[in-house]
């Protein structure tokens, strides 16, 4: 997989980033909503319209895949391509944070 296949998705929006983080393990939609609110410490809340849209796009792009369906709820998880994209995003965030922490001392 070329570098371009990954970078064309970056940077991810906050919502997409957190959704992908949550899908490191199989989870269904509402599970992702709760997880994201928890791990983002309440800074990112997901509405069902937003979540469904992102799920649909991520699945279409081959970044997540459906793993099971239970009680009318579909569970998804990251594909290898999804993991590569997420890795690329985290690398970008590392650089952003490094820079941010330096400037923060002067704010």
């Amino acid at each position: 997989m070329s570098r371009d296949d990954i970078t064309k998705y970056l940077p991810l929006t906050e919502s997409t980033y957190y959704i992908m983080l949550s899908l490191i393990e199989p989870l269904h939609g509402y599970g992702v909503m709760q997880k994201v609110e928890e791990i983002s410490r309440g800074t990112v809340r997901l509405g069902p319209g937003t979540l469904y849209g992102v799920f649909t796009t991520l699945e279409k792009e081959g970044l997540i895949v459906k793993v099971k369906e239970e009680d009318r709820r579909k569970s998804y998880t990251l594909t290898q391509k999804g993991k590569d994209v997420l890795y690329g995003q985290i690398e970008r965030l590392e650089i952003m944070t490094e820079n941010g922490l330096i400037v923060r001392k002067r704010l």
């Binding site: 939609g29 509402y30 319209g49 937003t50 992102v54």
Partner: protein, 175 residues
């Protein structure tokens, strides 16, 4: 106890969905709660206690196999599904004091909703204009010309709708 039902007629264009959401919320605060939207422009309300409901509309095509999952997600998130017209789905949730529930929590997904609408409008525009282009040499006094004029007017209106929705998207992106 018999439920009192009232019907109201009000017309909202696709780009006025936010206005429609506000109006439905106002109706609920007066005690009129939406129970059905079977036909465009006709709203059926049940009369009851005033409640602080927030109504939200989504324009979301979904396949048969996604249907259950889609509505289950909204239900899990506390949104009641009231009904659908075409590809528009109506949801409501009771607002807690000081909080307004939303189905879209970022600008990108709000914009995506309007882009979906534009996509479908475009699909309708293309065959309409194709009909017009074919056989331009018709007798201008025949009834076929009349149909073509009708199609032309519909086509122009769709273009107007396209522009209004595109402006809505532009408005959102500025925020």
């Amino acid at each position: 106890m018999a439920k009192t039902i009232i019907r109201k007629f009000k017309w909202f264009w696709a780009w006025q969905d936010e206005k429609e959401e506000v109006w439905l919320g106002e109706m609920s605060r007066k005690g009129y709660h939406l129970i059905s939207v079977a036909l465009p422009g006709i709203y059926t309300f049940a009369v009851g206690e005033p409640r602080d409901y927030v109504y939200r509309l989504n324009y979301q095509p979904y396949s048969k196999k996604d249907r259950d999952d889609y509505f289950q997600l909204f239900s899990d998130a506390g949104w009641e599904h009231i009904g659908e017209i075409g590809l528009w789905q109506y949801f409501r949730k009771e607002a807690k004091p000081g909080e307004t529930p939303e189905i879209f929590t970022d600008v990108e997904s709000k914009v995506a909703k309007y882009k979906r609408l534009l996509g479908y409008l475009f699909i309708f525009l293309v065959p309409l204009w194709t009909i017009l282009i074919i056989r331009l040499s018709d007798n201008p006094y025949s009834w076929v010309a009349g149909i073509k004029i009708f199609i032309l007017i519909v086509g122009l209106f769709l273009i107007y709708a396209f522009i209004r929705i595109a402006l809505r998207i532009k408005q959102l992106k500025r925020l």
